[in-house]
Amino acid sequence: MFNSYTENTLQYHQERCINCKRCTEVCPHGVFEEGEKAAILKNKTRCMECGACALNCPVQAIEVQSGVGCAWAMIGAAIRGKDMDSGECSCGGDSGSCCGD
């Protein structure tokens, strides 16, 4: 109840993993853990879909639809009649509070 964050788009194909450990290096939420022969998908629900793991995986063992989880940007895009997923985080712009530091 009242938890919209139980699912996300992260997919891990462990059989492709060459155990380079990049994903454990880049993930800021400890979603992946080092394993003996391959990385282990340890905490899937903690994923914030930043896409760092997929982008840095040399063998495409990880897939995720990355994007910024920012309501401000998505609502703004929806109001302007654009695709919600195209909503750009406005940080640094003249307005918009998206993003911390």
Binding site: S4, G92, S97
Partner: protein, 343 residues
């Protein structure tokens, strides 16, 4: 501050700004601190920039480490001040004055810009090694395998927080703890000014409008809702029940609305049903306003996924609209009845 390019391989005239190695130090001056405060308050948000390019820190040589950073003053300053006493190169990418993590999300702190800066500064002629330390939070924009293919430089991701860099340099590796992003009370506190500044313009309009339409108590309710949504909500975030930001906001907004509801009930002698109807108005309007501000805070946090935020938008925006819409209808009806002299 800048000196002409000393590397011969750097083609082009001295006037080419990318063809310059600048120097910097680890000192944070008063002017830097003032700049940081202004940045935190959102004053001229895109103007807190550093010139992109290569910088020397201390007296680096061909074996010294190279650190990548963004051309946002807060990012650059935290890096150079954390490296006090170290000799190093800092490669500042052009992220349009945006911090590392946000710029990585947009892709401006990314593979293309990193490869471009490595080439345009002639970095491979300046250092003998082929290793560049990139902040871990830059990883959503940087593909290490591709950078290596295209530039020959191996990306090593440094810790999340610059303050862990001395330890990282000593041991050559980041601990699990250093790799995890936090969202401490301090992290949340420094974000509140920008949140507040954002809500001020619509807030002032609402305060003035309601002053004339519904009186000073209603104006005060607007101020309370904005402060609750932009300052109290970020600070209390982990302590408010439920996981969703919208429901957290509804709960906090309901608490903030209680004094205003009580003010109506204990107000001037009016028929009982009018008092109840008057008390219901803030209870219907303040929670969704706070919830909306709360939901918009998702973009400032370090952990909300797009899938989840989208789900929240579809789930709760209709609820917020229904609650506030009902509240406005009741409020307007009461106002009309009062003007007509019926209550």
């Amino acid at each position: 501050m800048s000196e002409p390019c000393s590397c011969c391989s750097c083609q082009g005239a001295v006037s080419d700004s990318s063809c310059t190695v600048r120097s910097t130090d680890s000192t944070i001056t008063l002017a830097n601190r003032i700049d940081h405060i202004l940045a935190r308050w959102g004053y001229k948000r895109s103007d807190h920039r550093v010139q992109p390019g290569l910088y020397t820190l201390g007296t680096p040589n061909a074996d010294s480490p190279v650190f990548a950073s963004a051309n946002y003053t807060l990012s650059f300053d935290i890096l150079r001040s954390s490296l006090k006493g170290h000799d190093a190169y800092i490669l500042v990418l052009d992220t349009k004055g945006i911090n590392v993590w946000c710029a990585a999300g947009k892709g401006t702190f990314g593979t293309d810009e990193l490869v471009h800066r490595i080439e345009s500064t002639g970095l491979s002629e300046i250092v003998s090694h082929r290793k560049i330390i990139v902040p871990q939070l830059g990883a959503p924009g940087v593909s290490a395998p591709e950078v290596q293919r295209r530039s020959g430089f191996r990306v090593v991701y440094g810790p999340v927080r610059a303050k862990d860099l001395p330890k990282f340099l000593k041991t050559g590796k980041a601990t699990k703890e250093m790799r995890r992003v936090q969202f401490s009370a301090y992290d949340r506190l420094v974000l509140t000014p920008v949140e507040l500044v954002q809500a001020i313009l619509p807030g002032v309009i609402a305060v003035i409008a309601l002053w004339f339409l519904a009186g000073p108590v209603a104006s005060l309710a607007v101020i309370a809702a904005i402060i609750t949504g932009t300052i109290l909500f970020p600070l209390l975030l982990p302590f408010i029940p439920t996981k969703d930001f919208s429901t957290k906001g509804l709960i906090l907004g309901f608490i903030a609305a209680i004094p205003f509801a009580l003010a109506y009930v204990s107000g001037p002698a009016l028929p009982g049903w009018v008092q109840v109807a008057g008390a219901v108005v803030p209870l219907l309007i303040i929670p969704p306003v706070v919830a909306y501000l709360a939901l918009n805070f998702t973009g400032s946090t370090t952990f909300t996924s797009r899938t989840g935020v989208k789900k929240e938008i579809f789930r709760y925006i209709p609820v917020m609209a229904a609650l506030s819409g009902t509240g406005v209808v009741i409020g307007v009806a009461l106002g009309v009845l009062r003007v007509m002299g019926m209550i």
